[in-house]
């Protein structure tokens, strides 16, 4: 990665622990990745893998007993992990926008959506009243709400789920952030609405060239949206690869297992479903060595003894002693 541009977001050895009755349990174990300017990094994993914790840790929104205990987070040269809470507040919503899974809980139910937009714009951009309102209306239009003038005065509960998520996206983007973290932005939505929201995210991404971290459990969403993908397993990075490589020639056995376990028609329309035995270990129950070793068909002695480091190979990186050969998956 010598010629690569300087990454916008650089996360190194991010570690998050949970204090459980005085016992420290590792939720995120030395997670490292970066996001290039204008890039969409997909973060995929099953529930409990640490995807959402990663997103929350970057903007310092971890809820106790979760606590960041190590690692560095650098956004365009600024060490976010060293910022004061006050400085962090201006980064949040300003330089980093956030789209949550549930649009109902991420909007204030007693304030009109127009006012919420204006508040966010004013907090980060210091514009005059008229300009603020103009910008808010403009954003409502950009995210595809019909009749922005009417919608401006409406309350969140008066909108459908899809429309609410559009407002949340407007809120995340209205202050011209450098990075947007979208945590399961379409999981709460129906299939037909999901495609709308994904299309909107893609369009806005193309227009503004904002970098994006797209956190999801849905490999279909990843395949359509991400440029590069980080696969998390039990709080560790299993593999980071460009999206085409990840789906067509995965390195980590878990990645391939996940892809094959997803019920999807293949190109020939034939359906197959290969399960991974067992289940992901819970917090604090991660086996020694590679976290995936009890479920892995390639596991050997070294996998049970040592945690495999992240090997870099061309454009991808994987944490496995016995990676899959580069053949078609």
């Amino acid at each position: 990665m010598i010629n690569a541009p300087a990454p916008l977001l650089d996360v190194r050895d991010l570690t998050v622990t949970i204090n459980r009755d005085g016992k420290l349990v590792t939720a995120l174990d030395k997670v490292s990745f970066f996001v290039n300017p204008g890039e969409v990094l997909g973060i995929v994993g099953e529930s409990g893998a640490g995807k959402s914790i990663t997103g929350a840790a970057i903007i310092d929104l971890l809820v106790p007993p979760l606590k960041r205990t190590g690692g560095t987070i650098t956004l365009a040269g600024t060490r976010l992990d060293q910022l004061s809470p006050k400085a962090m507040r201006s980064v949040r919503g300003g330089r980093i926008g956030f789209v949550f899974q549930d649009p109902m809980t991420s909007l204030n139910p007693v304030i009109t959506i127009g006012q919420q937009l204006c508040d966010t714009i004013q907090a980060h951009l210091k514009l005059g009243g008229n300009q603020t309102k103009k910008r808010a209306l403009d954003w409502l239009d950009r995210v595809g709400l019909p009749n922005p003038d009417v919608q401006f005065k409406r309350y969140p509960h008066q909108l459908s789920g899809g429309m609410r998520q559009r407002v949340v996206i407007a809120l995340a983007l209205c202050a011209d952030p450098a990075l947007v973290i979208a945590d399961e932005p379409t999981t709460a939505l129906d299939v037909s609405v999901q495609a709308h929201i994904l299309e909107l995210l893609r369009d806005l991404h193309r227009e503004s060239n904002v970098s994006m971290m797209l956190i999801t459990h849905d490999l279909g969403v990843i395949a359509k949206m991400a440029d590069r993908v980080a696969v998390l397993y039990a709080g560790r990075v299993a593999e980071i690869s460009p999206v085409g490589e990840l789906f067509n020639a995965p390195k980590h056995p878990y990645t391939r297992g996940l892809i094959r376990a997803t019920p999807m028609p293949s190109a020939t329309g034939e359906m197959r479903l290969d399960q991974i035995p067992g289940a992901m270990p819970g917090l604090g129950a991660v086996p020694p060595g590679c976290a995936f070793n009890p479920r892995c068909f390639r596991a050997e002695g070294d996998c049970r003894a040592t945690i495999p480091p992240l090997y870099h190979e061309e454009s991808s990186a994987f944490s496995c002693f016995h990676p899959l050969e580069r053949v078609t998956a």
Binding site: P277, G278, A279, P281, P294
Partner: protein, 314 residues
């Protein structure tokens, strides 16, 4: 636990009941202390009367020993560590008897409130519709009256019906009933709202599809799941019921003097508070406060532990 294929992510290791209790106690020293206080007071109230004569029957009285202050004061006597009352009763024995009555009355009235309110709440929550509306409106009307006033009204009505000639047992029964009835609403409301949540859970649907009758669904499935919050309320209400009984007795309409409760003792001692014999009312007061506060703290703690929102998902 035997190793199991296919279940590597099995739940937490199971601990024995004793170990669990010990762990819970270490985590909450305050409530543990309260539990110890409660147990000590229970032993005091139920064991002391076994070894001493009832001072409220004439044989146990000795007027010569009246108004003796606690042992450490000038006129104190080592025979009566906490002093004696106007009739020469040893306060330690008297309070044990009083405490016993208080606890029995409190426990019985809570049970009556629980059974009455619990069944009405179950019916209201499970049946719903007009039955629910009727029961809950009655509850609303009752809530418009202060519980103490209501207990006094019921007590008065029972006296009017049964006449003034009545045994100690009847008097206690009347007090128990009036306090129990005065407090059913809270149980009914709590149970009703829990039942309405549980009623729509899928495990109830599964039992219904399997062919269980409504009655067996209520008894076998719903009841065990709604009892925890109610038992917590019952614990807290035990304190309130004891206080209510003490208030009734203090006002002179509760338990007859021949079988006194803590309230009766306090009322009696109140007569001498002005003349310097403070110990006659202060000791029963303290012991009442100690018991009720302990019960409340324990109840609060149980409520936190059994918070339905935290329950189940470990």
């Amino acid at each position: 636990m035997t190793p199991v294929v296919n279940t590597p992510a099995a739940g937490p290791v199971r601990r024995s009941r004793g170990a669990k209790l010990l762990r819970a106690m270490r985590r909450a020293p305050g409530p543990t202390l309260c539990a110890i206080v409660i147990i000590a007071l229970l032993i005091y109230a139920f064991v002391v009367p076994l070894f001493s004569l009832n001072p409220f029957e004439f044989s146990g009285m000795s007027v010569l020993d009246s108004f003796i202050p606690p042992a450490w004061m000038a006129d104190g006597s080592p025979d009566f560590p906490l002093g004696t009352d106007d009739q020469g009763r040893n306060l330690i024995t008297a309070m044990a008897y009083g405490m016993r009555t208080s606890i029995i009355v409190g426990f019985l009235s809570v049970t009556i409130g629980l059974v009455l309110g619990g069944s009405l709440g179950l019916i209201a929550g499970f049946v719903g519709g007009k039955v629910d509306a009727f029961i809950m409106r009655v509850a609303d009307v009752q809530l418009a009256y202060p519980a103490l006033l209501l207990a006094m009204i019921i007590d008065g009505a029972a006296r009017a019906v049964l006449g003034t000639e009545r045994s100690v047992g009847t008097a206690i029964a009347i007090v128990v009933m009036s306090i129990g009835i005065a407090f059913w609403v809270q149980y009914a409301r709590t149970i009703r709202s829990s039942v309405m949540i549980e009623r729509d859970q899928d495990y109830v649907s599964a039992a219904r599809i399997t062919g269980r009758s409504n009655l067996s669904i209520i008894v076998l499935h719903i009841l065990p799941n709604v009892m925890a919050p109610v038992l917590v309320i019952a614990t807290i209400n035990l304190g309130i019921a004891i206080i209510t009984e003490a208030t009734l007795s203090f006002l002179g309409i509760g338990i007859p003097v021949t079988s006194p409760s803590l309230g009766t003792l306090i009322r009696n001692g109140n007569n001498f508070l002005q003349s310097g014999e403070w110990w006659i009312s202060v000791w029963p007061c303290l012991i009442l406060v100690l018991f009720v506060v302990s019960v409340n703290i324990l109840g609060d703690h149980l409520r936190d532990v059994y918070n339905p929102r935290l329950r189940g998902r470990s």
